[in-house]
Amino acid sequence: MYRLSGVTKEYSHGTVLALRGVDLEVPDGGWLAVRGPTGHGKSTLLQLMGGLDRPTSGTVELDGRDLGRLSDTAVTRVRADLIGFVFQAFNLIPTLTAVENVETALAPLGIRGAQRRRRAAEALAAVGLADRVHHLPSELSGGQQQRVAIARAMVKQPAVLLADEPTGNLDEDTRDDIIALLEGVWREQHLTMVVVTHDSVVAARAQRTGLMREGQLTLAARTSQDVQAVLPWTDAAGQTGN
């Protein structure tokens, strides 16, 4: 479970205030979509939730661990064990094949050789790329690359999936495929998922949406009806959504 309390983030010695006192709770298995204009703090929020950066003040807790206070080594371990990332630009290693890219997520866990290769191939098969395991990213379409990125994020069976504009670089049809894929893994693996997006179609699939504007997060009252059944959502005030 994520619990953010009074989180602020300043850049450039305080001249830029990216987050202004964000409070948020995301229950285990919850799916939050964060919308908002560019430059209003969505990605900063995701970075702090992913332990990629530390808040200027406030706390970001994941399962009771304050990510802002953990050592670099410990927070790296949390990222390796618990958090999967999906990026807008896919961020695949251009020199590695699809299966090798997926393997990079298992390398920090100390999983070796054949087992690593087998799990990576299975993860690719799960996203529909069984026949593309030995292709380089440059030999794959945008949608296929994002599927590889999702396989890389999911292969270690994380507790959390953080996605930053996962459909931002895709056409509509491919976007729908990716949304369906994300929703599928969320359902099957009981993931906690936070997706930053501009796309209202993507946001509409989430359990709950939040609007980030000028560094402040406002959770919307509405939640997606068809995903509501998966898990009741409780916000920071203890109110059930819907």
């Binding site: 430059g39 992913g50 371990r77 997520a105 390398a107 866990l109 930053d164």
Partner: protein
């Protein structure tokens, strides 16, 4: 994962990898070539010193010639010139003057030799006489009025010279014969002490068609060749060796006889570490003498061997350093540039849980492999460079201990004196080789690894400093 990633990166960025490796290879190849050339020059110097010095000799003691002495003309010929000028010898008279002269060094007495051998840490001391046999032949020309005697006078005579060492027949080492091997006939024995027998250097014997049993005129005395000796390649031995006693009997310094005298003392110390102490003792004992050890002798080596040594030591060394620094700098800059291009890649890896240490290791591994490839190519280049030196390097000359021409070498006597002087000079020709030693190859490997690690360290340092948030920041 490490090797897979490393292999893929090198294959993907093959042009950059080749560029960096070639830069390192060039630097390392140059280092090997220069090191090999320097080794070759050292070997050449060692060959020169070995031949000039002799096995088992640690120090030599010589006395500088007295001012005006040893002008290179035989005393007899000088007298004859006087007689020609005074009219005692008429024009048309045939002159054939043959003398054995001490032209190179001053004399040392038997007492001084004994004193040297008594010094602490001296295990052996042997005296020898390095002499020059000078023969002047010709017919006295008619002197015209007002003639200063030069010109047609000197052109009326021809001279021939060869070098003769008077050696201790009872002890070959230390001494001029210590590194010699008998190739025909026999060596000197105790019974030869006062005999008219000689050993001929193999090179001189070939040139003069001398064999055992042949006779040669030395100081107007016939000597029978009893043996042909060969000294190590690259040396400049005397043409003939005769017993010391005979050399003392026949040799002169100007008008003075050399009875009981030597002009070179060969000394062996009891250990290499005591050579400086012995040198100091002998310098104190004989203040006017020159006490020379191998390093002194090396510093006296002039000619192209000396020039090549200087070139290898100075220009070659600094050129190697400059190219290496440039190659290392290039490798570092290109590696750091490569890391800068891979910010998102490394940021992504950090985001998915790779520790900085693993990423730094990856960067250093890539650089190290490039360095090793550069090292292997550098060794190949170095061997190529050394082979080129072996094939195209000219013969080097070494001139050791050349006495300065005395001021008396002027006018009518100058031409002949120069011939005598050159006969006394030790000029040795050696072929320069560039042997690639194991230490040079090891040096190359160390440099390659160092270059790779250095580039990797800088690149890794930059990668380690990347914030993982950079991966996401690139997107926003």
């Amino acid at each position: 994962m490490f090797w897979t990633y490393l292999r893929r990166e090198l294959r993907r960025r093959v042009r950059q990898a080749v560029f960096i490796a070639l830069g390192l290879a060039l630097g390392i190849g140059l280092v090997i070539t220069v090191t090999s050339a320097a080794t070759g020059v050292q070997n050449a110097q060692a060959a020169v010193l070995h031949s000039l010095y002799g096995v088992g000799t640690d120090l030599t003691v010589t006395q500088p010639p007295k001012q005006g002495a040893g002008s290179g003309l035989t005393f007899g010929f000088k007298q004859q010139i006087k007689q020609v000028r005074s009219g005692q010898i008429a024009a048309g008279t045939k002159i054939n003057d043959n003398d054995l002269e001490n032209t190179q060094y001053g004399s040392l007495t038997g007492g001084q030799l004994a004193a040297v051998s008594r010094q602490q840490h001296v295990t052996a001391a042997t005296g020898a006489l390095a002499l020059t046999d000078i023969t002047v032949t010709g017919t006295v020309p008619a002197l015209t009025a007002g003639s200063n005697g030069s010109g047609s006078f000197s052109s009326s005579f021809t001279s021939s010279t060869f070098t003769v060492d008077g050696v201790n027949v009872a002890r070959s080492s230390p001494g001029p014969l210590s590194s010699a091997a008998v190739t025909a006939g026999r060596n000197f024995g105790q019974a030869d002490a006062s005999a008219d027998v000689a050993l001929a250097d193999s090179g001189y014997a070939t040139a003069e068609k001398l064999k055992t049993g042949s006779t040669v005129e030395v100081g107007s005395t016939s000597f029978k060749i009893v043996g042909i000796v060969s000294v190590p390649q690259g040396s400049s031995p005397p043409n003939l060796y005769i017993p010391l006693a005979k050399a003392q009997q026949l040799g002169t310094t100007g008008a003075a006889k050399l009875t009981g005298q030597v002009n070179t003392i060969y000394v062996t110390a009891d250990s290499a570490s005591n050579i400086p102490a012995v040198q100091q003792e002998l310098t104190r004992l004989l203040p006017s003498a020159t006490v020379t050890d191998a390093s002194d002798l090396a510093s006296q080596v002039t000619g192209s061997v000396g020039s090549a040594a200087s070139l290898a030591d100075n220009l070659g060394k600094w050129l190697s350093v400059a190219v290496l620094v440039a190659a290392f700098g290039l490798a570092i800059l290109l590696t750091m540039a490569a890391v800068a291009r891979r910010v998102r890649e490394f940021g992504t890896l950090k985001a998915i849980g790779w520790r900085s240490r693993r990423i730094v290791g990856q960067v250093m591994g890539e650089s190290l492999v490039i360095g090793i490839i550069g090292g292997v190519a550098g060794v190949a280049l170095g061997y190529g460079g050394a082979a080129l030196i072996d094939k195209f390097a000219p013969k080097l000359s070494a001139i050791v201990g050349a006495p300065s021409a005395p001021a008396a070498f002027t006018g009518v006597t100058g031409k002949l004196a120069q011939q005598v002087s050159s006969a006394a000079t030790h000029t040795v020709y050696v072929t320069l080789t560039a042997p690639v030693t194991l230490s040079a190859v090891l040096l190359a490997v160390v440099l390659a690894v160092a270059g790779g690690l250095l580039a990797g360290m800088f690149g890794g340092w930059r990668a380690a400093r990347l914030r993982p948030a950079a991966a996401l920041a690139k997107v926003e």
